[in-house]
């Protein structure tokens, strides 16, 4: 578009016409002339995005005051204003939910932010439920989400930078960090990667995630996604950076390590002694959700010697008469289970649950009765599913779902040896991953002993005075040393 066309016309009606022409066909565009003693003009807005009552109130106030002459002279109670100088800016403002006030004879217009964008209210967290602790979750509005973070972190050092991404549909995006804690290199890297995003529109923060991810094709989540403001605040205080886009109820945090994906916010809201068994369980469950079917196949087809005799006899009895080789049986069952799981999430909620339960029970039972599948296989595959449900990070669940297939194939090829070799390769791959410079397997490999107190165990809060070293925070201690002195020595308050 040429520069000439982009200049706002001097006549307000002409401007309104131009805007309408850009947006045409556009039945929800509203144009309303206004006039004061001195000026005349039009207001242009999209119905539905603008709070009509407020707009009329503001226009009324405008008429009483004598019209806009300069920016400062207009009394606009409760209305945020921006000056727009070009036609395309005016169009964008209209699309953004502003009312554009054009004055006859003026070279620029005003965008009044009177948006009433449809949004849901703040609700309980659905995807990351906990029993204890705060319950609220982010919604699809950036400003509300930022407010929710601000509400929890009343620190003057909490900094919020905004970016606009999306070529066709610009989208506001904010990065949040705690100044003085976050490592400056990390911040620079985040800004650099965000600047490189080229996308037409942003539907969800996942697009941002895929653009700024370290490994391009890794199945492992190298960014943390959460819909819980409390988790975001905890992350910020550890020296991490959070990203929120407008229109997405998910917040992205970097960097993240593998072990963090296995810790649930619940761990921090419960008594610390409970966190140890639960985390151990989750670590175990992650590996069993990846390996269980493969191990079963390996034990049944290659390494029967590892089974105790009574178990072997019972498994052999279950398996006699099954027409398929164990590998095929396993792959078939796994595919069927994945299908059921997918059906469970896609169907309407009321139907979905019954489908997944009924499906597993009825179809599994029928398959066993028909002699198509051995009962052991049904148990193993559903145990794998249950194991993956214990993982708090959805990204890891998806990784486990994907990874179990190659492992079963490896087990079919070389038994335990195949599993082991693939496992080492996977471990190498995981060890080579980095999330914004932080090794993915930290603090286990490379070993950071100080940070181990929040990996498998969760140390009591009074022992976690230092921030995790793996993120190299500028301020290493949560509380300045001189005030923390007596806690540091392990002494606690006694009556």
């Amino acid at each position: 578009m040429s520069l000439e066309q982009d200049i706002l016309a001097r006549r307000a009606a002409e401007v309104a016409k131009q805007i309408a022409k850009r947006l045409e066909p556009c039945p929800d565009l509203r144009v309303q002339p206004w006039s004061t003693q001195r000026d005349t003009g039009v207001a242009v807005w999209l119905e539905g995005l603008v709070d009509a009552d407020k707009l009329q109130e503001a226009l009324l106030a405008l008429r009483d005051s004598g019209g806009p002459r300069g920016r400062r002279e207009i009394p606009r109670p409760g209305v945020a204003t921006e000056e727009v100088g070009t036609l395309s800016a005016a169009v964008r403002a209209v699309l953004d939910g502003c009312a554009v006030i054009v004055r006859d004879g003026a070279s620029s217009a005003e965008a009044w932010r009177l948006d009433r964008v449809p949004a849901r209210s703040v609700d309980r967290s659905e995807n990351e439920p906990t029993l204890h602790g705060p319950q609220e979750a982010f919604i699809e509005s950036l400003s509300v989400n930022l407010a929710m973070v601000r509400k929890r972190l009343k620190s003057p050092r909490l900094k919020i930078e905004t970016f606009t991404i999306g070529e066709t549909s610009p989208c506001q995006m904010a990065i949040l960090y705690e100044e003085g804690v976050v490592k400056s290199d990390l911040l620079r890297e985040v800004r650099r990667r965000i600047a490189q995003i080229r996308v037409d529109y942003v539907a969800d923060i996942n697009e941002v995630r895929e653009f700024i991810n370290d490994p391009r094709f890794s199945v492992f989540p190298t960014t943390e996604e959460t819909e819980r403001p409390d988790r975001v605040v905890a992350g910020l205080m550890e020296g991490r950076v959070a990203m929120i886009t407008d229109g997405s109820p998910t917040c992205l945090m970097v960097p993240v390590t593998f072990a963090m994906n296995l810790s649930s916010p619940e761990d921090y809201y419960m008594h610390y002694s409970l966190a140890l068994p639960l985390r151990l369980l989750r670590h175990l469950m992650f590996w069993s959700s990846v390996l269980l079917p493969a191990l079963y196949v390996a034990l049944l087809t290659y390494n029967q010697d590892l089974l105790p005799t009574p178990l072997l006899v019972s498994v052999a009895a279950q398996h006699s008469g099954i027409p398929f080789p164990t590998v095929i049986e396993a792959l078939g069952m796994m595919v069927a289970f994945e299908a059921l799981r997918e059906a469970g999430t896609r169907l309407p909620r009321a139907v979905g649950q019954s489908v997944s339960i009924v499906g597993t029970l009825v179809i599994g039972d029928a398959a066993v009765r028909a002699g198509l599948v051995s009962p052991g296989m049904v148990i193993i595959v559903s145990a794998t599913g249950v194991a993956s449900f214990t993982l708090p990070a959805l990204g890891l669940v998806q990784a486990a779902r994907l990874l179990q297939f190659p492992f079963v194939m490896a087990a079919g090829l070389f038994g335990l040896y195949g599993i082991l070799m693939l496992g080492i390769a996977l471990l190498g791959r995981m060890a080579s991953l980095r999330s914004f410079g932080v090794p993915y397997l930290a603090p286990v490999a490379p070993n950071i002993t100080r940070d181990m107190k929040d990996v498998i165990i969760r140390a009591p809060w009074w022992m976690m005075q230092g921030r995790p070293r793996q993120f190299e925070p500028v301020e290493r201690d949560r509380v300045p040393r001189h005030t923390a002195g007596k806690w540091r020595r392990g002494r606690r308050w006694r009556p």
Partner: protein, 368 residues
């Protein structure tokens, strides 16, 4: 910047030496002596001390340089490359030995019908991948394995210790000293000298200065572990340890605890397979570094494939059967390794010192 911490280095060295050590060393030791087997295992420490001395000279004279780089520095591009090629031959032969030991071991113990070359091909492929990912990743995988090993191996130890019986060791030190020395030669010169591959990793170390000390620590830990293992093996198996190829495997096979724990040998084989892959990866890193220096290449990503390929085909070709491997280790390796990783580098350092003295003397005269 790729950097390996001291802790990682020590772990890498321990796995490197114990990788094949736990498979074959108890067997070779038991061929010579049973009563003194536990002493012979400390031969490993002798090798560690030699390597430590060599590395002491190395890090003093060539801080931040690998052995092959040092050779090129001292001997010039032509002679230095010759040394590099000699070192490459050493690396490839060692790799082939390990590959053959591994394929034979796994073939015999868990996958008898799968061709050996296929088994070693997989192991070489995985270790190649690790070597490709770089020394840092190999070090991290080593680190990751440690907690697992720290849990599993004591359990195996304890389970086997129930069958322990001290009579094979009585009377204490009853065998002639010669037999104990014969048994100690292989641990000292064939396995202990493998610590020297750390010299090739020097450019990647965070603190190369402490390398001699780290080798000593790794050597002491490995010698201790090996001695405990050998003691346990001989104590449990008794006389049969003499004729069994893989005594530790038999030791684990003997474990039975109630009705549920009846056969753990496959688990043990898998554990050994992990350490062997890590060992192969560590060697490939060292050899890759040598290839890089010899071909004067700034890149290292192209190296793993040809190195692994050659190591793999050599492992199939050089050793036609397991006896070739055992024979080679018993008859030739001690002298070969001593020459390659102790005497030749020693000569190199002497030469360097001579060069330095010659160049420094005039300067000092000028200074004074």
């Amino acid at each position: 910047m790729v950097q390996v911490s001291r802790y990682q280095l020590i772990l890498m060295l321990i796995w490197t030496v114990l990788g094949t050590g736990i498979v074959t060393m108890p067997g070779t030791i038991a061929q010579f002596t049973l009563r003194d087997a536990w002493v012979a295992a400390f031969g490993l420490l002798l090798g560690a001390v030699m390597c430590s001395l060599v590395s002491l000279a190395h890090v003093r004279l060539f801080p931040g340089r690998s052995l092959t780089q040092a050779a090129i520095d001292v001997l010039g591009p032509v002679l230095g490359r010759m040394f590099g090629i000699w070192y490459l031959a050493y690396g490839f032969i060692t790799m082939a030995t390990i590959g053959r030991e591994m394929s034979a071991f796994i073939g015999i113990s868990v996958l008898p019908n799968t061709p050996d070359f296929l088994l070693s091909a997989i192991a070489f492929a995985v270790s190649m991948y690790l070597a490709y990912l770089g020394i840092e990743v190999v070090a991290r995988v080593n680190e990751f394995i440690v907690p697992l090993a720290a849990v599993v191996s004591p359990v195996l130890f304890l389970l086997a210790a129930r069958l322990f019986d001290a009579s094979p060791f009585q009377p204490l030190l009853g065998d002639p000293a010669g037999a104990a020395w014969h048994a100690a030669v292989v641990p000292a010169f064939a396995y202990g000298l493998e610590f020297s591959i750390a010299l090739q990793w020097v450019p990647a170390l965070r603190s190369p200065r402490t390398l001699p000390w780290d080798i000593l620590i790794a050597g002491a830990i490995s010698a201790f572990v090996l001695s405990a293992l050998v003691t346990l093996t001989v104590g449990v198996l008794g006389d049969p340890a003499r004729y069994l190829n893989y005594p530790v495997l038999e030791l684990v096979r003997a474990i039975r605890q109630g009705k549920f724990v009846e056969r753990l040998d496959t688990l043990y084989v898998m554990g050994v397979a992990i350490t062997l892959v890590l060992k192969l990866a560590a060697l490939q890193l060292a050899v890759g570094e040598a290839v890089k220096d010899v071909s004067r290449s700034p890149e290292r990503t192209w190296i793993p494939i040809p190195v692994a390929l050659l190591g793999w085909s050599l492992s199939n070709y050089l050793f036609r059967n397991v006896f070739d491997v055992t024979n080679f280790i018993l008859r030739d390796v001690p002298g070969y390794f001593l020459l390659t990783v102790v005497l030749l580098p020693g000569a190199l350092y002497a030469l360097r010192t001579a060069q330095m003295v010659r160049t420094k003397r005039p300067r000092r005269l000028q200074n004074t």
